[in-house]
């Protein structure tokens, strides 16, 4: 069965500092991988996704993520964090075994990001 682990429950950074959120997955085939962000009281918004090709993926709001198959990782990065980035971040892996499986996601536990001024 597929699974996703986000080792850090809570991360605190200063505004302007760099950020890396960790994500490790377990999946038997080539995964699709996603990062979502949830601001307080809001639904989830897609930041970026990886299906194939270039292992460095660019997303919205200045975020990027790198797929490393050898490490089963898909870490999210941002070079300079803004106060508005404070939110909860979810890594997810998607199934792709057939048409009706597309879109079913397994999520990690989430990482809460706090940004200090």
């Amino acid at each position: 069965a597929q699974s996703v682990t986000q080792p850090d429950i809570h991360i605190t950074v200063s505004e302007g500092a760099s950020l890396e959120l960790r994500c490790n997955y377990s999946y038997g085939a080539t995964p699709y991988l996603f990062w979502y962000v949830q601001s307080p009281g809001q639904g989830l918004q897609l930041l970026l996704k990886y299906f194939s090709g270039d292992t460095l993926v660019q997303g919205i709001k200045g975020f990027e993520a790198e797929f490393k198959r050898s490490q089963s990782s898909f870490n999210l990065r941002k070079p300079s964090v803004h106060w508005s980035d404070a939110a909860e971040y979810f890594c997810a892996v998607g199934k792709g075994a057939g048409g009706t499986s597309y879109g079913k996601l397994t999520f990690g536990q989430g990482t809460i990001l706090t940004v200090h001024p």
């Binding site: 996703v4 986000q6 429950i9 699709y32 996603f34 979502y36 009281g41 809001q42 639904g43 989830l44 918004q45 897609l46 996704k49 299906f51 979810f90 997810a92 998607g94 792709g96 048409g99 009706t100 597309y102 879109g103 079913k104 996601l105 397994t106 999520f107 990690g108 536990q109 989430g110």
Partner: protein, 115 residues
């Protein structure tokens, strides 16, 4: 702008009540999902539907059922609400197609409290 709308943001129900959570999407998506979100557990899939009247169990279907009579609407039903079903419920939809279209769009969530 794509939209997934959940009928209630907050809901308080009594133990034993039958509860309906409604979700509507306006993107003509084939796939619709119900997830439950709990602190420290992330989101867990309850049920999934890829077509009208079609449904599949997710990872935690016990105590829940679903209904999809129209393509745009997907309902989650708690047959007899219990306090351990107090949670945030998120609806999502996505296209049925090649995997590059598997982005799921989420509603704002319904925070259900069972007392």
């Amino acid at each position: 702008d794509v939209k997934v709308t959940q009928s209630s943001r907050y809901l308080v129900k009594r133990t034993g009540e039958k509860v309906f959570l409604e979700c509507v999407q306006d993107m003509d998506h084939e796939n619709m999902f119900w997830y439950r979100q709990d602190p420290g557990l992330g989101l867990r899939l309850i049920y999934f539907s890829y077509d009208v009247k079609m449904k599949e169990k997710g990872d935690i279907p016990e105590g829940y059922s679903v209904s999809r009579e129209k393509k745009e609407r997907f309902s989650l039903i708690l047959e007899s609400a219990s306090t351990n079903q107090t949670s945030m419920y998120l609806c999502a939809s996505s296209l049925l197609g090649d995997r590059t279209n598997t982005e799921a769009f989420f509603g704002q969530g319904t925070r259900l409290t069972v007392v």
